[in-house]
């Protein structure tokens, strides 16, 4: 224990020495952050008195207007990993990272809104697992509920860990204090105001993130000379085009070709997430009407399309930015020469991105090249371009993005726990007030488990990777199950359950028999012994694992469904496409029709892809 503590102090000290440009938050910055905390808690307190029934607490009484549900839908998904991770990805891979948004999110969001919400909302299911119970059977619901509950509470922990680590590295804040304080704040407002509190705060967080990052992008672009100036400084064409180099995996930094990306990312992974993950679907289920529920994900798609500019660009700029002092010195030389020659803020770094440091304070190297700490790309941008005052806003936006993810996980967990695990298996006949109480209780112990997971992640870093892996295996086949459930009336409970199980196993098997280039068997794959294939990158391996999982689940579900008894059709009314009346859209204006809005998004999306081809 003591040894650990000593190691921690030494390591932190060395890391701190490495960052020459420690930001010094002033009073104004803390004032901004404290004001934000006060508002977030205040909203929770004000909403407490409206939480009278369990439906109020878990589903906001199904009374949320579409625009609010839409922004919450988007914001709940935004977490530490996205804002930081997309910046890191942008620094590493360039604008191709936008694929995660333009291919890997928007089409799925449109699909869930227009085609799947009628079943989620129309079935009056109170959660995604509950839909599976209504459509299939109890064991399918159980499999989904338990795996989702575990996943979501651990994801929250991983998120907390990322935030704590970042705040410690960047500002020297105590790791434990940072995550405890944010966890307690999230606990307070979700405990008091339930889903409504989470949703309102998510909308607040959305605006905060937008308002915090726009000045960053503005200043960064202005400093490097706009998009064209950025292209010149990066001096690597494949970083500034998203499709041009997708023909072959060796042509682009991500190591993926278009087919693997399209099927793996676009279809399996993204639809698997956006169409089945209760964290986001819950926000749509809370909407005040069927059309509002269908419009929610579509409304969220509009800002989602634009987010690459807010989160990816800073990462790309970080790799070529310089400090203002060097700016003056090198103003006379040519731009390209100066960025190539100078060593920036950190020796061994790139632009303002520091290298990873080992416990002795020296840059880590792999294969002779310095390993960069890409996760610090976006935070270093804040440090570089924001004066005190604005820095407070930027930090607030960062903290807000972590907290909105945490709250999303918390509300999804307490609902699935209370309705799908507690009510289904432990206590079926209690009063509504009892379930409301259980909702509040599970908020507490859910966050407690997440906190523990965060501390475990800190000590045992590989656990993080293992966890993420397991979640990926479980997620990959999900979409096949839902697709067959909603659009093929012949699929049965047995088919669904075994398909899910089989798909998960298929994922684990494929991963266990393959490796990305340059990796050793273990967490990166190949743990089953023989290596049947080596992929050019981790991403490629992930995409193909997803494809195998989906195909496995699909095939197994179809085969077993055909071999087991079908359910009588009248039981499936409202749950399956062919047995449900088309949603009523008679009295709606054009901009209220989900399909019309979705079409507009698609057109804009196509435009964006063309511009950044």
């Amino acid at each position: 224990m003591v040894w650990f503590a000593v190691q921690l102090v030494i390591r932190t000290n060395e890391l701190l020495k490495g960052i020459h440009v420690r930001p010094e938050p002033h009073l104004i910055d803390y004032a901004i952050i404290l004001l934000y905390f006060a508002f977030v808690l205040g909203i929770g307190f004000v909403l407490k008195k409206y939480m009278k029934t369990s439906t109020d607490f878990f589903l906001s009484g199904r009374s949320i207007p579409a625009w609010i549900a839409g922004l919450a839908f988007l914001s709940a998904n935004l977490g530490a990993q996205e804002v930081i991770g997309m910046g890191a990805s942008g620094a590493k891979y360039g604008i191709s990272t936008s694929h995660f948004y333009w291919i890997g999110a928007v089409p799925a969001m449109l699909f869930v809104g227009v085609f799947m919400m009628p079943f989620y909302y129309g079935s009056r299911a109170r959660s995604v697992p509950e839909y599976l119970k209504l459509r299939f059977d109890e064991k399918t619901r159980g499999f989904n509920a338990i795996s989702f509950a575990v996943m979501t509470v651990f994801s929250s922990g991983v998120s907390m860990y990322a935030m704590g680590k970042l705040l410690q590295l960047l500002l020297g804040w105590n790791f434990t204090a940072a995550i405890l304080i944010s966890a307690l704040i999230v606990l307070a407002y979700t405990f008091l105001g339930g889903l409504t509190s989470a949703i309102y705060n998510e909308v607040l967080q959305f605006f905060l993130i937008v308002m915090g990052f726009i000045p960053l992008v503005y200043l960064g672009l202005r400093d490097v000379g706009g998009w064209d100036g950025l292209k010149v400084r990066i001096a690597n064409d494949s970083m500034v085009h998203s499709w041009k180099y997708m023909g072959h995996s060796s042509a682009n930094p991500m190591g993926v070709e278009w087919f693997g990306m399209l099927m793996g990312l676009a279809f399996v992974l993204s639809f698997g997430y956006w169409c089945t993950d209760f964290l986001v679907v819950q926000r749509a289920m809370a909407a005040d009407s069927m059309t509002a529920a269908r419009r929610t994900p579509v409304i969220a798609a509009f800002p989602k399309m634009v987010f690459p500019f807010l989160v990816i660009l800073p990462g790309m700029i970080a790799g070529v930015a310089t400090s203002s002092k060097m700016h003056d010195a090198s103003a006379k030389e040519s731009v390209v020469a100066s960025t190539a020659a100078q060593s920036s803020f950190f020796t061994g770094g790139k632009g303002i991105i520091p290298p990873k440091y080992d416990p002795a304070g020296k840059p880590v190297t792999a294969n002779g090249k310095v390993v960069l700490d890409y996760d610090l790309a976006t935070p270093m941008m804040l440090v570089r371009y924001f004066p005190s005052g604005l820095l407070g806003l930027g930090l607030c936006a960062l903290i807000a993005s972590f907290m909105s993810g945490m709250a999303g996980n918390t509300t999804a967990f307490n609902t699935v726990w209370t309705y799908d695990i507690y009510q289904s298996y432990i206590n079926k006949t209690a009063s509504d007030q009892h379930y409301l109480w259980m909702g509040r209780a599970s908020t507490i112990f859910g966050l407690a488990i997440s906190l523990m997971a965060a501390f475990v992640a800190k000590e045992f870093n590989n656990i993080l990777d293992v966890l993420q892996l397991v979640f990926a295996f479980v997620n990959a086949p999900l979409f096949a199950t839902f697709m067959l459930g909603m659009f093929w009336k012949r699929s049965t409970g047995h088919g669904a359950f075994w398909g899910l199980l089989g798909g998960t196993v298929a994922a684990a098997t494929h991963y266990g028999l393959t490796l990305p280039a340059g990796a050793v068997p273990g967490v990166k794959g190949g743990y089953l012994g023989p290596i049947l294939h080596v992929y050019p990158s981790e991403m490629a391996q992930n995409f193909w694992t997803a494809i195998f999982a989906w195909v496995g689940c699909f095939t197994l579900t179809v085969v077993i469904s055909l071999l087991t008894a079908a359910r009588p059709e009248q039981e499936l009314k409202g749950l399956v496409y062919s047995l449900t009346a088309k949603p009523e859209e008679g009295g709606l204006k054009w901009y209220q029709k989900p399909a019309t809005l979705a079409l507009i998004v698609l057109v804009l999306l196509a435009g964006l892809n063309v511009v950044f081809w």
Partner: protein
């Protein structure tokens, strides 16, 4: 349910706007603007933007209530 969400959003951003605006005005010409935001007093300018945004939100709340 509950209250109009535009109100706390409006209040918070108006407050942020005023804070940054005030701070920006108080630190006009400070060296930190040269060092960070390319010589531009971002606190002042962005403070104005935030304040306007906050006031617009509050105005929308007022309009809603009148309906």
């Amino acid at each position: 349910m509950g209250f109009d969400i535009r109100m706390p959003i409006g209040m918070l951003f108006s407050l942020f706007g005023m804070l940054l605006l005030g701070y920006g005005a108080a630190t006009r010409g400070s060296a930190m603007y040269e060092e960070h935001s390319l010589g531009v007093n971002m606190n002042l300018w962005w403070g104005v933007v935030l304040l306007v945004f906050g006031l617009v939100m509050l105005a929308l709340t007022r309009l809603r209530r009148k309906q």
